[in-house]
């Protein structure tokens, strides 16, 4: 570690052992009877100018991670360092100045824009709150942000209902950009859009990142979109990250059985690329009562006794981080060769699931 430039060496965003639990209250006295462990010990870094893709199924806690970073929900434990400032230790004023630099774009462009406000008021609200410039300077900034997102300044005097889903999402992005943020949490920004419109918004996000040097946390359940946009990918399951790596590494050589299943479940239009589909049994368990040991074990085709009892420790193979007993052992057996291990894991899972489900017939 060089001591001369600590500010450039430190990752832009550091998340350490983040926990966000929601209390479950019952009875007349609203006593707390348990908690939903939506995020339960999540650690990751995002270097400046990079995109971390956070993938997982609904209920895995990925949205809660995004909201906890900005303290839109209050984390229970852990540390979030944004450009070396602790987000959790800020008072109201400090938090407000950090939030100008960290913005969020929500999934649903129909629900996230106030229908009673003109686009002008929606964009201007943040600028006024952060006391950024006088009226003419604000107008200039709003026009710039709209232009960047491919909208004309004429939209300022219109209401959200006059726009289509894709245009609304552009407005939501402009609303975030107008404050000149450095970091954006993108919570499923294209999931509600049609394919042809989705591609337009994905391209826009990519251009903006390059032009403005933005750092993204891109939350999505759609692996193909994440693979296209992200530099690094973390896979979440029941409040924890089960595997993370550089995007090419993770997509080419997934090691965790859950990641393998997730990739194999994505329908592909390339007939020749069709993989042996791994069909997981069962549903995601409730995060209020996560299973003991490895949280994935009730659905894992390779689960062993140790998986049911001991939480798997993290194995770090040159930045490819993994939480799985079976894959770690396999990795050791293959002498640390991730490519070989990935193939072996795939074969093991296929063998374990082939008798319970029929392979998918080709069209």
């Amino acid at each position: 570690m060089s001591e001369q430039h600590p500010e450039t060496d430190l990752p832009f965003l550091q998340v350490k052992d983040l926990k966000t639990h929601f209390p479950i209250k019952k009875g007349l006295l609203r006593r707390q009877v348990g908690s939903v462990k939506a995020v339960d010990g999540v650690t990751f870094d995002i270097p400046r100018g990079k995109t971390l893709g956070l993938v997982g199924e609904s209920g895995c806690g990925k949205t809660t991670v995004g909201r906890s970073l900005l303290r839109l929900v209050e984390p229970t434990d852990g540390e979030v360092l944004f450009d070396n400032h602790s987000v959790r230790k800020q008072n109201a004023r400090g938090l407000r100045s950090l939030r100008r630099r960290m913005q969020i774009v929500f999934q649903d462009p129909y629900g996230s824009l106030n229908p009673r406000m003109k686009i002008r008021s929606i964009l201007e609200e943040g600028l006024i709150l952060h006391k950024m410039g006088d009226e003419s300077a604000r107008l200039e900034q709003m026009k710039q942000a709209l232009e960047r997102t491919g909208l004309s300044p004429a939209v300022l005097e219109r209401y959200p209902h006059e726009f289509s889903g894709g245009q609304r999402q552009r407005i939501a992005i402009a609303r975030a950009l107008v404050l000149k943020p450095e970091f954006l949490v993108l919570d499923e920004p294209v999931s509600a859009l049609d394919v042809s419109i989705q591609a337009q918004v994905i391209n826009l996000l990519k251009e903006l990142k390059q032009e403005l040097g933005l750092t993204y946390l891109f939350i999505s359940h759609d692996l193909s979109v994440v693979e296209y946009l992200a530099d690094n990918v973390a896979v979440m399951y029941l409040g924890q990250i089960v595997e993370s790596a550089e995007v090419g590494q993770l997509c080419q050589q997934p090691l965790h059985p859950y990641t393998l299943a997730l990739f194999s479940a994505v329908p592909s239009v390339e007939v020749k690329n069709r993989r042996q589909r791994i069909v997981l049994t069962g549903d995601v368990p409730s995060p209020s009562r996560p299973p003991a040991g490895c949280r994935f074990h009730p659905r894992c085709p390779l689960a062993e006794t140790v998986c049911r009892e001991v939480e798997p420790p993290q194995v770090d193979l040159a930045g490819h981080r993994l939480h799985c007993h079976v894959a770690s052992r396999e990795l050791e057996r293959c002498g640390g060769d991730a490519a070989k291990t990935s193939v072996e894991m795939q074969a093991a899972i296929t063998a374990a699931t082939s008798d319970s489900t029929e392979p998918y017939s080709a069209v």
Binding site: S196, V266, P267, S268, V279, D283, T357, V363
Partner: protein, 331 residues
């Protein structure tokens, strides 16, 4: 050759609103053979769901089937679902044709148990006692691989997960052993691993029971993996129709090609900008003249595409395309 199970001919469904006559479905022809899966793909607002609703005459006012025929042939008997009396149609709905809708959260009744809702369909269509209907419901839950089916029978929809509810919907659709299932975006609200389970289940049931499926979706990947034949819809019309293998290996309509290219591919390492289709899907109140896709099409040529509406033509055996320049794109 025997008549196809379902044959839709020149279906026109319009909505009469304050903005005038809006043709949401404008001359759609489709046919489904027994035991086959037909995928109907398109973006929101292209008319794919209205086509499905029209098939069962479930389009509600101000919508109305204006012309066309929908011939449903079962047990050697053909009926036109457009003109059939309501009484006969009620036997078809949920009986010979099952339905699965997109939202498993809202398409089940929250105040009745799962068992009740499956048994209801059975009792409506067959002369069975309550206990027989209940045992049929149990059998159906087993068929759709619901865990602990005896216990689930007496549970309410809110106690089940999204994937489970969709399984219950499939159980209801299959309860009377239909010849055809119309599935409108059956997996859109579900996660990918659950989607894989449901698609797997549908395919398995089709091969075991010989039920034909009309699968409506916006996801080309889902179609590629489950369908035998595909029809692509745009602005109320079918723009391309072929077998799945043919369509995905030789797409000919510029819209189909655009949709395929706009999808980031999981296996592609290519990070160049995604191909986009400029503009938006037009609404029925302002469908463009000539070819409805021409304002967004990179192959469009004035004046032909702007003035002359192209017909759906057979370019190669079984491959139909609605484009003036399909041969050119083909070569």
């Amino acid at each position: 050759m025997a008549a196809p199970l379902l044959e839709i001919k020149d279906l026109v469904t319009v909505f009469h609103t304050s903005e005038g006559r809006l043709p949401a479905v404008d001359g759609v022809s489709l046919s489904i053979e027994r035991g086959r899966t037909l995928g109907l793909v398109g973006e929101s607002g292209c008319g794919k769901s209205v086509t499905a609703m029209s098939t069962l005459r479930l389009v509600s006012s101000p919508g109305r089937i204006e012309s066309g025929s929908i011939t449903f042939t079962t047990e050697g008997e053909s009926i036109d679902l457009v003109t059939a009396p309501e009484k006969q149609l009620r036997k078809v709905r949920g009986g010979r044709i099952g339905m699965i809708f997109q939202e498993p959260m809202t398409s089940l009744n929250p105040v009745f148990t799962i068992g009740n809702q499956i048994a209801e369909v059975v009792q409506l269509h067959r002369k069975v006692s309550r206990s027989e209907a209940r045992s049929r419901a149990l059998e159906m839950l087993r068929l759709v691989r619901v865990a602990a089916p005896e216990q689930r029978l007496d549970e309410y929809p809110h106690q089940l997960s999204g994937g489970m509810r969709q399984r219950v919907m499939i159980a209801i659709a299959l309860a009377c052993e239909p010849d055809l299932i119309i599935a409108d975006e059956p997996t859109t609200a579900l996660d990918v691993t659950i989607q894989a389970q449901i698609l797997d289940l549908l395919d398995d049931l089709r091969s075991r029971l010989g039920t034909a499926i009309l699968l409506i979706t916006h996801d080309l990947g889902v179609v590629a993996e489950t369908c035998d034949d595909v029809a692509v819809m745009y602005a109320g019309q079918i723009v391309e129709q072929a077998s799945a293998v043919e369509l995905f290996s030789h797409p000919l309509h510029p819209y189909t090609i655009g949709l395929l290219q706009a999808r980031p591919n999981v296996d592609a390492r290519d990070r160049s900008p995604l191909a986009t289709i400029p503009g938006m899907v037009p609404l029925p109140q302002n469908f463009p003249s000539g070819c409805r896709f021409h304002p967004r099409c990179s192959h469009a040529r004035e004046p032909q595409c702007k003035l002359d509406p192209p017909a759906l033509r057979e370019i190669s055996p079984g491959h139909f395309v609605r484009c003036h320049f399909a041969e050119e794109i083909n070569s």
